[in-house]
């Protein structure tokens, strides 16, 4: 269709599978506004009881890190092995550790 307005904005959809779990990104959809995005998200992403709660957010509102895994952003955690429990040697016979 030419001469129509720009298409509906893109939203990202996050669903909480059940109580006690985080909301997880499940995909995206188009909607004219936030309320419509929520209704569309229910129809598109929770047709089989996949969720108990939905978040929708305009895709343009998300700020993302660079996709490159070697990005310096993640470098500071690369050399801090002492942050992991396996860094510490404890005798096998010490219980509950």
């Amino acid at each position: 269709m030419t001469g129509t307005r720009a298409e509906w904005p893109l939203y990202e959809v996050f669903v909480r599978g059940k109580r006690g779990l985080n909301h997880v990104h499940v995909g995206s959809l188009h909607a004219a506004d936030d309320q419509m995005a929520l209704r569309h998200a229910r129809d598109v992403y929770t047709r089989r009881n996949e969720g108990v709660s939905i978040w929708v957010v305009r895709s343009e509102a998300i700020t993302a890190s660079s996709p490159d895994e070697k990005d310096p952003l993640f470098a500071p955690s690369g050399d801090k092995v002492y942050r992991h429990p396996t860094f510490y040697v404890i005798p096998d016979d010490v219980p509950h550790m």
Binding site: M1, T4, R5, A6, E7, W8, L10, V26, G27, S28, L29, H30, A32, D33, M36, D43, V44, R47, R48, A64, S66, P67, D68
Partner: protein, 298 residues
């Protein structure tokens, strides 16, 4: 500014990611040809789901019971959902939803040739579930591990739902096979019409499939057309026996396939005309919703 040297290192990084069977994600650098190939394949897949609502949708108003009608409605709604998952995946590569719909309507992008065959009897609803969705599952399960992340994730969701589609179809046919001679003949006639078009869903023979080799090197496809077709034939034989129907032979007329792909199938024009009408008729709704949203924000 990307220099030639940078591009070589980006290409090497991409190749290494694909080689270790890791996923390519939307904002990663990727070769233009890879992007074009994924767009073409995922869009074709999305269009197939959307056009695929039509042949079965024709029977919603004529379903023989409320139970069958509720099932068929749910199935057709699923097809719409599958189309939407896949359109979303395609859009991550920088194509807009509107462009995709326009390319479907103009014929610039294709959909599976199977949906250009008509549904002449109610048994076709069962046969489509059993054979057409069965072939789709055979094709789609390996695609859950495809190299493009959003496509693989969409396929995982779709495969979970397709199982219902195939089982409801098989159960429908089983019910008819337990009925009258006339119903059994109706099932056999339907299977006779759909078997070969279903086999053609896997695409042309490997020797004539221009895209397969590159797609496999990129991890977009993981099996050749003929491998998947052979697997499907093998899986269908015991199912046909359980049902009590005879499957036709596996000799395929590839001239027919190419004719249907190029627009000369029994329903090509009807399918596109229907989609175009829905798109045109819906324009005022899309505009009104946008206008309402603008007014609310003003």
């Amino acid at each position: 500014m990307t220099s030639v040297v940078d591009e070589a290192s980006l290409q090497a990084h991409f190749d290494a990611t694909v080689a270790r069977k890791d996923r390519i994600e939307p904002r990663d650098w990727m070769p233009d040809a890879y992007r074009r190939t994924v767009v073409r394949q995922v869009a074709q897949h999305a269009h197939s789901e959307i056009i695929g609502m039509q042949p079965e949708g024709d029977w919603i108003g004529r379903a023989p019971s409320l139970r069958r009608k509720a099932i068929l409605l749910a199935k057709v709604q699923d097809e719409a959902g599958h189309g939407l998952y896949l359109y979303s995946a395609t859009e991550t590569l920088g194509v807009s939803r509107q462009q995709l719909t326009e390319m479907l309507i103009s014929g610039a992008q294709k959909y599976s040739s199977i949906f250009n065959y008509p549904t002449l009897s109610y048994a076709d609803v069962g046969t489509i579930g059993w054979l057409v969705d069965g072939a789709a599952i055979c094709n789609q399960v390996p695609l859950c591990r495809t190299s493009y992340g959003p496509y693989g994730r969409a396929m995982i969701r779709i495969c979970k739902e397709e199982s219902f589609h195939q089982r409801q179809g098989f159960e429908l046919l089983m019910t008819m096979m337990r009925g009258t001679d006339e119903q059994r003949a109706m099932v056999q006639e339907s299977v006779n019409r759909f078997w070969k078009p279903a086999l053609m869903m896997f695409g042309p023979p490997d020797a004539d499939s221009t895209n397969t080799e590159q797609s496999m090197a990129w991890g977009i496809k993981t099996h050749t057309n003929d491998e998947l077709r052979a697997r499907f034939i093998e899986m269908s034989a015991p199912q046909a026996e359980a049902l009590g129907v005879t499957l036709p032979d596996n000799e395929l007329d590839w001239d027919e396939f190419w004719a249907v792909v190029k627009g000369a199938g029994p329903c090509n024009q009807q399918r596109i005309a229907h989609r175009k009408q829905a798109w045109d008729d819906g324009a005022w709704v899309r505009e009104a919703a946008t206008a309402f949203s603008e007014k609310e924000q003003a």
